[in-house]
């Protein structure tokens, strides 16, 4: 494992300072943002005061009525007109912070194999609205659990369970300094430092280890080139997991990630796919770039991926042409994945379909760039 040990040694030498720098900056950013949020949260946040409007088109069914009643009990109910302009105005003028639309047939479809999604509108980046969203998710998950477990749904019991859990949730939300801030900031913004660290650290070590004279020297030794390359690749994977691990740990410590939530576990999986996509792209870049240009290249690529992928600005603010271009950007699929995860109300196949496609596309990036790397390696060998 001589090549693997060398990889680790060179990572410590060349990449660790950069990783620590990014961790430091990211930690500081989280600290600053969470201090700002914590003041707001302790002074004014109360989920029971979130102005919520419900448009229920599914009057005939129990679930819809129970859900409506549950939300009304746990939020501040407001009534708004049921037309597009009124909905937009309500959000714009702050009359409502969260609008839930229960489509016709929702209750019936909820218990079938092809559930209909709830629709909602909310004030962008509103922490209160996020709490309501979480509340609805938890309620529906509990109903689903009862349905699957007993086949008989006791709404009174569910309401009782939920009222206790809501209390806990609210307390926990306040003490965690606002979960929605985390949803919007930590989970999405995580892509940028993660990509920067990976783009800075992976290619530089690969470039050093694949310098012509070092490679030729290694080929003279009693170690096969495949074994040597595999050891380097293993080093790449380990470094990727360690960097991701750093950020996960940071998220857990700062309260940005709660791995007991299924949503956050899925975000973690999403981040893992993004990391591997970046690993594959870095591997490809390291075959073409030189030691001198890799740092500016890493800055450019990670910033470009972040801007065009919706990490720094909401995707809704990006132009249509930019979004078209963004489909070849793994950060875009990561952000899309996070948004899908945070809006999922149940974990059935249909709800998860969009998420699966985001995962799949990120995996496709991995295979595409690894295949391209193998092709470049082959061409280089032939040229030699």
């Amino acid at each position: 494992m001589q090549a693997f040990k060398l990889y680790i040694r060179l990572t410590i030498e060349h990449a660790l300072p950069t990783i620590l720098l990014y961790l430091g900056i990211f930690t500081a950013l989280i600290a600053i943002t969470s201090i700002g949020n914590s003041d707001k949260a302790t002074d004014s946040f109360d989920s029971k005061n979130v102005k919520t409007a419900i448009l229920n088109y599914d009057h005939s069914e129990n679930l819809s009525k129970e859900l409506e009643s549950f939300i009304n009990k746990n939020t501040r109910n407001v009534i708004i007109k049921d037309d597009d302009d009124s909905l937009k105005d309500a959000l714009f003028f702050g009359k409502a912070e969260f609008i839930l639309i229960i489509p016709n047939g929702f209750s019936e479809a909820f218990f079938s194999q092809s559930p209909i999604q709830l629709e909602h509108l909310q004030i962008p980046n509103s922490s209160s609205a996020g709490a309501v969203h979480l509340l609805i998710n938890n309620y529906l998950n509990t109903v689903q659990m009862y349905h699957k477990g007993t086949g008989n749904i006791n709404y009174e019991q569910i309401n009782l369970d939920m009222s206790q859990s809501v209390e806990t949730e609210i307390i926990s939300s306040i003490s965690d300094k606002d979960n929605n801030y985390v949803d919007q900031f930590f989970l999405i913004f995580l892509a940028y430092p993660l990509m920067s660290c990976l783009f800075f650290s992976l290619p530089i070590v690969n470039i050093i280890m694949n310098k012509d004279e070092i490679k030729r020297r290694n080929l003279c030794a009693p170690i096969s080139y495949t074994k040597y390359s595999l050891q380097i690749f293993l080093g790449n994977i380990l470094l990727t997991i360690i960097i991701l691990g750093f950020f996960v740990l940071l998220g857990v410590i700062t309260g940005g990630l709660n791995l007991t939530y299924i949503n956050h576990q899925l975000v973690l999986l999403n981040a893992l796919f993004l990391s591997f996509a970046i690993l594959a792209i870095s591997f490809f870049i390291s075959l073409l770039a030189t030691e001198t240009i890799i740092n500016p290249l890493a800055v450019t690529i990670s910033l470009a991926f972040s801007f065009l992928g919706g990490v720094f600005v909401p995707k809704s603010l990006l132009g249509e042409s930019v979004l078209k271009f963004s489909v070849i950007n793994p950060a875009y699929w990561y952000v899309k994945g996070v948004e899908t995860i945070m809006s999922i109300s149940d974990f059935s196949y249909n709800s998860m379909k969009t998420l699966y496609s985001s995962f799949l596309i990120q995996i496709l990036f991995v295979f595409t760039f690894l295949s391209m790397s193998l092709l470049v390696l082959k061409l280089k060998r032939q040229a030699e």
Binding site: Q2, L6, I208, E213, R216, R217, P222
Partner: protein, 312 residues
């Protein structure tokens, strides 16, 4: 036989880099591959090491065919590349440790070997320094230490003294002799003929991918007709004097330019005493007189009509 090369042919499209190359290298030799740039020295080394595929021929090392996956052979070969192959991020010690570790897995044994290699190249006081802080000569020494630390039976040195100052070069050459005296067989490529003359027990002169002469340096020099060259700093030589000198036995060529008389004699025939006697008898005013033996460059010149290298 340590290395046996039979009818080796290597083509780069239309260019024939190695043209039916045949070589036999015995155990304990310092075998010099001498030739101008582009003569095929490095190509030959790369083929021997299986770094390059060849079109035709056979290479046996330690009496076994050499293939890219002949790891049992590779573990007994040391290589000192023409371009310094060290890792900038590692210290001198760590560099030797890395390359030695590709051959020797036992940590304790490796530590001993690294210490010996550092001693051998005289880098003790630099062992904790990184390559970027080393001078060119020290860097070359590190390159050698990385190649020989595992104590190989066969060491290939591809122009190890390129761009090295004279003092470091002498240290390196002494080191190579020491390695040989400890039992290693060495293949040494260079276009510095003085080095090859000083070091090698057997020499092959390559040109256009072919061996044009092979033997000890004495055997090679005996191949050519040129023998001793006598140079006299003589003043006011007349045509009469030059006519007399032209009558000297075994003289091949005479020139007199800027008070410098150059006499070229046939192989193995020394006439220095006769020249001195003649000058004194004619009371010719003279300065320095010196005699030069033919060099490998003369051998190369006579065999190919080209000079071995343009700059020394």
């Amino acid at each position: 036989m340590i290395v046996e090369i039979k009818n080796l042919v290597k083509r780069y499209d239309d260019l024939i880099a190695l043209d039916h190359l045949n070589l036999e290298i015995k155990e304990g030799e310092i075998f010099g591959l001498l030739g101008p740039n582009g003569s095929g020295k490095s190509t030959a080394i790369n083929c021997i090491l299986s770094l390059l595929k060849y079109d035709k021929g056979e290479i046996n090392i330690f009496n076994k065919p050499m293939r890219p996956n002949s790891y049992d052979i590779k573990k007994d070969i040391g290589i000192v590349m023409q371009n310094v192959a060290v890792i900038d991020g590692l210290t001198v010690y760590e560099n030797i440790d890395y390359f030695c570790g590709l051959y020797v897995t036992d940590k304790e044994k490796r530590k001993k070997l690294i210490d010996e290699a550092i001693d051998f190249v005289g880098l003790n006081e630099f062992s904790k320094m990184k390559p970027k802080k080393l001078s060119g000569g020290l860097l070359r020494r590190l390159n050698i230490a990385c190649g020989i630390a595992h104590k190989p039976r066969l060491i290939m040195m591809d122009e190890p003294t390129v761009a090295v100052d004279p003092q470091s070069r002498n240290n390196i050459l002494d080191g190579i002799k020491k390695l040989n005296s400890e039992g290693a067989t060495i293949i040494y490529t260079s276009h510095y003929m003085e080095e090859v003359e000083q070091l090698c027990t057997k020499i092959a002169i390559l040109d256009n991918g072919r061996v044009i002469a092979l033997g000890t340096k004495e055997e090679l020099k005996s191949l050519i007709s040129t023998g001793e060259i006598i140079v006299v700093e003589a003043y006011n030589l007349t045509e009469m004097h030059l006519k007399d000198i032209r009558e000297f036995p075994h003289l091949m060529d005479i020139s007199y330019l800027n008070n410098k008389l150059t006499l070229r004699f046939k192989s193995d025939k020394s006439c220095l005493v006769n020249i001195i006697n003649y000058i004194e008898s004619k009371e010719i005013v003279y300065g320095k007189i010196y005699s030069e033996q033919p060099t490998l460059n003369d051998v190369f010149l006579q065999l190919t009509g080209k000079v071995l290298r343009n700059n020394v």
